[in-house]
């Protein structure tokens, strides 16, 4: 856990819950843009975007986790992560800050109604708790 504790995290919000990704996974953060749908693909695939000439798939975590329908607002962002040598965008409601955690606890069975397996752990800050996502698992496992 000490490696996790030393690292910096990008904290973002999804349906009013705080989540985080380890900063080394995050490639860049861009504003929400027009996403071209790819029909007949994974159900939570929002579509594809053009990231400086590269086609990047964008997934919708709301759909992935079965959260309520979301609406795109001014603060909606796409967090582009690098996973298995490929870039994938993740739609989030807002990106808050880059933080470090005081303490990280192993995830409980369920986190905000989501299977605990999708999380590295729960990070503790002065302002409350943040769920740290296991991005590979979220992207690749059903």
């Amino acid at each position: 856990m000490s490696v996790l504790l030393d690292a910096q995290y990008v904290e973002y919000e999804l349906a009013n819950e705080k989540y985080a990704l380890i900063i080394s996974d995050v490639y860049e953060i861009i504003k929400m843009q027009k996403v071209t749908p790819v029909h007949n693909s994974k159900p939570y695939l929002e579509g594809i975007i053009n990231l400086r000439g590269k086609i990047v798939p964008v997934i919708n975590l709301h759909k992935r986790f079965g959260l309520n329908n979301y609406t795109v607002t001014k603060s909606t962002r796409i967090v582009v992560v690098k996973s298995r040598d490929e870039m994938v965008g993740i739609v989030v409601d807002r990106v808050n800050q880059v933080i470090k955690f005081l303490e990280i606890q192993p995830p409980p069975e369920m986190v905000a109604g989501i299977n605990g397996d999708y999380f590295e752990g729960i990070g503790i800050t002065d302002e409350g708790v943040v769920s740290i996502l296991k991005i590979d698992k979220v992207l690749y496992e059903a």
Binding site: K34, T36, V38, H39, I55
Partner: protein
């Protein structure tokens, strides 16, 4: 001790060169068989064997060196008229070619372990020699034939030679033996000189006939002549028309004889050597001027150019927006001007990069004559192969992909199409069947046709076979149009061949051809007339990396369709859409086409229709279908980008592209669409059986 010859570059270069030489060898042997023996061909064969011997010995490839050495011996005899070219000799040469191919394959798989046994072929080579193989003897013949070829040329003559070679003239050496009984031999030699000067230009004689005293006893004179004629015509002509001579021998001035030709500069010798043959073997000359480039590098360049194409489209679009916004600003006019020029340069760059990936289809054509020869021989048929458009250029990946289908179609034509000579005789056809393969460009496509004048496809048999194999019911069979019946041959596992032989009928059939054409976004069409022949037409895109796409809108989503799959676009009043058992169809050019609304498959609402609908008639391999779209945006070059591993392969899409405004459009894959359409309507499959095109579906 890993020497330089162990390095992968050297091995690669060796293999490439060997492949080239082997192809050339095949071509030359075929030429020898068809046109008979000429000094040029023999010389060419000799040179190939020699080149292979040299490079294989440099690589320490003993077996290949030994074999090519033996070939050289045989060819040397032929060259010196000690051995006549006959059927057995040609067969042995073909065997040599096969063995060399096997050796090369062995070399590729494991250099340390060359399995091919060359002893039998070496024996066969020695058997065709007129006398027992004898090293000393070979040496002697060489000396004899070349004994009076010693030219010491001045720089003038060399310049003349070069000039002649460049303008495509032949340089010949004429050895003349003046009759014993001839009086005033040197005068006779001068007369011969005059005569030769009528046929061409004599640039050198040995001995110098103009300098020798009248009474000198010379009986052998060699003339170096520049002429338009080839060696054999020249020889025949002089033999007929010259008087007082015992012997005339004319050989082209190159190859081995050059070794005796004392030239100050070695490099020049090589140049003359190559140029002399350039008339007959342009190929060789070109090879020396090219650079081998790793395909990956070209691939990367192609990608970068793709990026440029996209960015350029965006710059133009931004420029136009700015122009509208600040119409009075000169700077923006400048910007648009620059943008136009850049766009032109990018266009040329793109074309250049694309061309660098292109190869003439001749490479592939070269493989056919041998194949056709062997096939027709084993089937006791007579086939004349006509190849047209060998210089048509195609992307190398496409050439690779289309090789198997073409070979299959050729086999098919010879095996099933062209009849045996006795049957042809009975039906009043010439004994020799004709197989014509052509390639040409049409707009942004390559068209390949494979046409035979054989018996054609027996539609009745096709129907019966299809019913027997339960591809269609006998009831269906009644309703099929002629074209639909023909298309049945593309059905997986379909074969009309009654007997299984080793050439075709191994359970593979036209479906393989169809799959390959599918994969290339190509279209295949068949025309056949019973008793008159069959013609296959394959239409392929020029390249796979950038394609001309037709941009269409389905509801408000933009999609790109490969132009190569678009057959035509029609606008039809909605009331002309009919339904056959629930499937919407439309009659276009007297063909019933099933209509597809992708909206239904993508779960997007159909737009409220106007009075007319746009139907894009799509074709893939032998299938045709009509796609109903809401709007036609236009066509443009689109750079194909993969959807990536994460999304993976999705039926109906072949990739995505970035449009001028920076947005992304999916590229529809017509094969996938037709699959998707047929697989999703599982419950309505019966309806499909009756409707056009879908018959013979997988």
């Amino acid at each position: 001790m890993a020497g330089i010859f162990e390095s992968s570059e050297m091995i690669g270069a060796f293999l490439d060169e060997t492949e080239e030489q082997l192809q050339l060898l095949e071509q030359s042997i075929l030429e020898l068989e068809q046109k008979g023996e000429t000094p040029e061909i023999v010389q060419k064969l000799f040179r190939i064997a020699h080149t292979l011997k040299g490079s294989s010995s440099a690589m320490g490839f003993e077996k290949m060196k030994l074999l090519t050495h033996e070939m050289e011996n045989v060819l040397d005899r032929v060259r010196n008229h000690l051995l006549k070219i006959s059927k057995p000799v040609i067969n042995v040469l073909f065997q040599c070619l096969d063995h060399l191919r096997m050796l090369k394959e062995d070399f590729v798989s494991d250099r340390k372990d060359i399995k091919t046994d060359i002893a039998p072929i070496i024996n066969s080579l020695r058997e065709v020699l007129p006398e027992k193989y004898n090293e000393v003897d070979t040496g002697k013949t060489k000396d004899e034939s070349n004994q009076f070829v010693e030219f010491t040329l001045g720089s003038d003559q060399q310049a003349q030679l070069e000039q002649a070679v460049k303008s495509g003239l032949n340089v010949l050496i004429c050895h003349v033996k003046i009759s014993e009984g001839s009086l005033m031999k040197s005068a006779r030699a001068c007369l011969i000189l005059n005569y030769f000067n009528e046929l061409g230009t004599v640039i050198y004689t040995d001995p110098d006939v103009l300098e020798t005293p009248d009474d000198a006893e010379i009986d052998r004179v060699s003339y170096l002549v520049i002429t338009q004629m080839d060696a054999s015509t020249f020889e025949a002509k002089s033999r007929d028309e010259l008087m007082d001579i015992d012997e005339v021998k004319v050989v082209p001035f190159y190859g081995e004889t050059l070794q005796n030709y004392k030239q100050p500069e070695k490099a020049q010798q090589k140049e003359t050597d190559i140029d002399t043959t350039s008339k007959t073997a342009n190929y060789e000359k070109r090879v020396t001027q090219t650079v081998r480039v790793d395909v990956e590098r070209l691939e990367k360049m192609m990608n970068l150019v793709g990026e440029l194409v996209i960015e350029q489209a965006r710059i133009l679009q931004v420029g136009n927006i700015l122009h509208n916004r600040y119409s009075s600003d000169d700077v923006i006019d400048d910007l648009l001007g620059i943008s136009n020029r850049v766009s032109r340069v990018i266009g040329e760059l793109q074309e250049g990069v694309m061309k660098s990936r292109m190869l003439p289809i001749q490479q592939l054509f070269n493989r056919f004559p041998r194949m056709v020869r062997d096939l027709s021989e084993s089937l006791n048929k007579q086939v004349e192969l006509i190849l047209e458009g060998g210089d048509t250029e195609m992307d190398r990946t496409i050439i690779e992909e289309i090789t198997d289908p073409l070979i299959h179609l050729i086999r098919n034509a010879i095996d099933h199409g062209i009849e045996t000579p006795d049957i042809r005789k009975k039906t009043g056809k010439p004994l020799k069947g004709i197989l014509r393969i052509t390639a040409f460009h049409q707009e942004n496509h390559v068209i390949l046709t494979i046409e035979d004048d054989g018996r054609g496809i027996d539609l009745r048999k096709v129907k019966q076979a299809a019913i027997k194999k339960q591809i269609i019911t006998s009831q269906d069979a009644e309703n099929l149009t002629e074209q639909e019946v023909i298309n049945l041959i593309f059905h997986t596992g379909f074969s009309t061949s009654q007997t299984v032989n080793d050439i075709s009928g191994r359970g593979v059939g036209m479906d393989i051809v169809r799959n390959h054409v599918d994969r290339l976004n190509g279209i295949i069409d068949v025309e056949t007339k019973q008793g008159e022949g069959t013609k296959f037409t394959i239409k392929l895109p020029l390249t796979l990396a950038i394609l001309t796409g037709l941009l269409v809108k389905i509801n408000d989503e933009t999609y790109a369709l490969p132009m190569s799959n678009v057959i035509e676009i029609v606008r039809k009043p909605e009331r002309e859409i009919e339904f056959v058992k629930g499937q919407a169809v439309s009659v276009i050019r007297e063909k019933v086409l099933p209509l597809i609304w992708l909206h239904d498959y993508f779960n997007i609402p159909r737009r409220k229709r106007g009075r007319n609908v746009f139907i894009v008639v799509l074709g893939v391999a032998e299938k045709r279908l009509g796609l109903v779209v809401d709007e036609l945006v236009g066509n443009q070059e689109v750079v194909v980008k993969p959807l990536g591993m994460y999304i993976g392969k999705i039926e109906g899409f072949s990739g995505a592209t970035i449009l001028g405004d920076g947005s992304v459009a999916c590229i529809l894959d017509v094969v996938g669409i037709s699959k998707m359409v047929s697989s999703r309507k599982v419950t309505a499959v019966d309806d499909y059986q009756n409707c056009d095109i879908e018959v013979g579906d997988r």
